[in-house]
């Protein structure tokens, strides 16, 4: 399923010709590993999307037989084509897990980070190539364990991607597979983050000091620290939950649990809030891991296509670092309703308000970068420009959720689902598309077809809003999240037409990905051949041939100026690459 499909890039003779296995599957070249990560992540993103499209059927037409594919999932999950609540919850939990841990993070950090970052700092490869390979294969095994959990008796994990105890401790066997899969994914991210930080610190080209680094590299640097320090607590929590499930300990199980009349044999004394604290200690930095590299990609694409340096590069970098730091101390705004007192909730409400400031600074700096630019509306730029207002909506709708008082009504409703999907779907996924369209020529030497790209953009942009905008109104109406059938409640039934609208938007969004998939595979062979710098960009990755050979640069690059020297007065061309001493 993954890694099988590869474009054929030919190594230079001075390396001993590696066997197929060493060159494609167990390769230590950061570019091959980057492609492996990217392809596996794209497959998982598509799989997660399909799970969601099935859920949308049950939400829009509760209890109705799913047409066409209804009876493919066996009587245990969908008897007679009608989805059971257990299967709906399993789809929901796995949709969240697959999209976050198996789709977006490996795509942003594993795919883009591994491929583009060493090129952008002028390094021949990552500092620890073998650890880089190990991190991919740990991720791959984690992915396989997650997929196996679908076929385990009792189905996949069905207590949400947050798997709150005690529901997750009492859950079926799929939850144990979920925990084991998570341990592999966390190991993969830890190995990756150590590799990233050391590479960025140690292997920068000569003359490339920290404030000449492209913003994308800064984003990967801060993201790597978030992964390094935030993931281990979830690994500890996963160990505790595995002990609860398998060894009968009661870390998360209080005294006197009675499940449908049967007293449970736990010694008690545990606290369900312990799991929530340890989980959200990871999960909030995790959501910043999802958005920071996306901001990096968008900054690269905007700087390149406005033919103008980014406005306020230093304020953006300082905000990025401040954002990374603050993301560790806001986690309990997910837990306002767990009986928190005034002092702790005031602390976390304050840190949540403070953390909104750096995001506003970065977003405003990106918009002001458009001022007095010369904006080229090619496909990566369209996606990057769409990212800005969409991320603004996502960010702003975080405000009422960040304050405990307004969170009373909006907590765990569809308002929350609208909020984080606006940040992740039109935000991070659009940035991923921008990155793919932007760096595809560097990876394959051919460019994606821009007409198909524009079709893909406009359809996706329209339908993504059709899916997520109604969710804010459903959330205000009080429709709770993770409901198998919203029409049970009067306030849910009243907005059922909005649910149907979202569902149709989701299916049409699925359809509008066809041009992209078509374009992605056809351009491998039929795409227009381009030189090594088709976008006339200034950063170092465009100084290497595309696709770059093993060891990346023929001559070790030296850097003379900042990352975005566009339209410098007194130069013929409107871009001045970092590695050129004087204009060629």
């Amino acid at each position: 399923m993954s890694g099988g499909h590869h474009d054929h890039h030919h190594d230079h003779a001075h390396h001993p010709e590696l066997s197929f296995w060493r060159k494609y599957l167990f390769s230590v070249d950061h570019k091959t590993i980057g492609i492996q990560y990217a392809l596996t992540a794209l497959v998982f993103l598509f799989l997660g999307f399909c799970l969601m499209m099935m859920m949308r059927w049950q939400l829009a037409y509760p209890g109705k037989v799913m047409p066409v594919i209804g009876n493919l999932f066996g009587e245990g999950n969908m008897p007679g084509g009608v989805m059971l609540p257990e299967f709906y919850n399993a789809l929901g939990a796995m949709h969240g897990t697959i999209m976050v841990f198996l789709g977006v993070v490996p795509m942003l950090v594993g795919g883009f980070g591994n491929y583009v970052m060493p090129l952008q700092i002028g390094a021949p490869d990552m500092s620890f190539p073998k650890i880089n390979m190990a991190s991919y294969w740990a991720f791959f095994v984690g992915g396989v364990v997650m997929l196996i959990s679908f076929f385990v008796p009792g189905g996949a994990a069905n207590s949400g991607w947050t798997s709150y105890a005690p529901l997750s401790v009492l859950a079926t066997r799929g939850q144990t597979f979920w925990l084991l899969g998570m341990v592999f994914l966390i190991t993969s991210s830890l190995l990756g983050s150590v590799n990233f930080i050391v590479t960025i610190i140690q292997l920068r080209a000569k003359g490339l000091d920290f404030f000449r680094l492209p913003f994308f590299v800064w984003a990967q640097f801060v993201t790597a620290f978030l992964l390094l320090l935030a993931f281990p607590p979830l690994e500890g929590a996963a160990v505790l939950q595995l002990m609860d499930r398998l060894a009968g300990t009661s870390f998360f199980m209080p005294e006197g649990l009675v499940v449908s009349g049967v007293p449970q044999a736990y010694a008690g004394g545990g606290s369900p809030l312990l799991w929530q604290h340890l989980f959200w200690f990871l999960a909030h930095p995790e959501v910043y891991v999802l958005i920071l590299p996306a901001m990096g990609i968008v900054a690269e694409v905007i700087a390149n296509n406005t033919r103008k340096p980014l406005w306020g590069y230093r304020p953006m970098v300082y905000s990025l670092i401040f954002l990374g730091f603050m993301s560790f101390i806001v986690w309990a705004h997910h837990m306002f309703m767990t009986g928190m007192g005034t002092k702790i909730s005031a602390f976390f409400a304050t840190t949540t308000m403070i953390i909104s400031i750096p995001s506003v600074i970065i977003l405003t700096a990106l918009v002001i970068s458009l001022y007095r630019g010369c904006i080229r509306f090619n496909v990566p730029m369209l996606f990057a420009l769409a990212f800005l207002p969409m991320f603004a909506i996502g960010g702003l709708t975080g405000l009422p959720l960040g304050l405990p008082a307004s969170d009373i009504h909006l907590h765990d409703t569809y308002y929350v689902i609208g909020h984080f999907h606006y940040v992740v779907a039109p935000g991070t996924i659009f940035a991923i598309f921008a990155g793919i369209y932007h760096w595809y020529p560097k990876v394959t030497g051919r460019t994606l077809n821009s007409a198909l790209g524009k079709i893909h953009f406009f359809l996706s942009f329209v339908f993504i809003n059709v899916v997520f905008m109604p969710m804010f109104f459903q959330g205000m109406a009080g429709v709770s999240r993770r409901l198998y059938d919203q029409t049970m409640y009067a306030h849910g039934d009243a907005v059922q037409s909005l649910t149907r609208m979202s569902s149709w938007g989701a299916w049409m969004l699925g359809l509008s990905q066809l041009p992209f998939i078509l374009n992605f595979f056809m351009s491998l062979a039929a795409g227009r051949k381009v030189n090594q710098n088709p976008w006339e960009a200034t950063t170092l990755e465009w100084a290497a041939p595309s696709p770059p050979p093993h060891g990346n640069f023929a001559t070790v690059p030296v850097v003379y100026r900042g990352p975005y020297e566009y339209s410098v007065p007194g130069t013929q061309k409107d871009f001045f690459p970092q590695h050129l001493a004087t204009e060629a």
């Binding site: 529901l167 005031a346 405003t364 458009l370 405000l399 009422p400 907590h411 359809l511 509008s512």
Partner: protein
Amino acid sequence: MTRKFLLGTTVAIVVLGVLFVEAAPAWAQAVAPKTSVKVDGEYGPFMPPDVSVHGHKVDQLINLLHWFMGILFVGWGIFFVYCLIRFRQRPGHKASCELIKAKPSKYAEICVAIFEAVILLGFSIPIWASVKNDIPPPTDNPVRIRVVAEQFAWNFHYPGADGKFGRVDPKLIDTATNPLGLDRTKDGADDIFSLEMHIPVGRPVICEISSKDVIHSFFLPVMRVKQDAIPGMRIPVWFQAAKTGTYEVACAQLCGNNHYSMRALMYIQEPAAFEKWLAEKSKPAEEFQD
């Protein structure tokens, strides 16, 4: 790639889309609402009706925030669109990169920060403090209810005339008649157990929320009340009804397979009707045993 091919793919997608939209209603008729019991208040895409005495504070904060978000987004969007049009690539137009001071954006950000501080200190913290700390004292004669969530039902336990809650014991649990394991001997003799919540209008209500098995969340949309029911903890929540009517109690936290069907009804009655219901429910205590 030839133009014809591109045209072909676009037309194909549009046709497929239209086909989908047309054919769908044939597969699925509109679903008849399951809510058998008529629930008061009209519901729509915006905030549900507010029958609580203190609910307006939460609504006011949410409206204020959304006005703030609207103004920010529109103002910011206008500048965004202006930049896209004014500085688009066209012959003769060059990008210029001399420094822009962008004073207004710095002031805008400072105003945003100040506004957030005002919202936080002026509105959110006081409202939250009143929700958490101003639990009505015994002198206000509050109605006290123990709300116990369990997998897929809400149990309501009233102290009865003697004002004292009876003992509950896991060994006495009988899933059909006595899910709470209520000991009917001493204080519990006059206790009332019900699957529906009855409260009087005009009197404060204190619900002590806990759970028997997993985490649920006691959510009254019309009362602007939400409190996680966490096993091993009993968290007090208070509110006061301002209007009578029949409304819903929802579960807001995923609690298992039938999380969606964990709906209970809340009857807000006139004090007299409420007293009559209490008396009627506590009278046939003996036939409860058989």
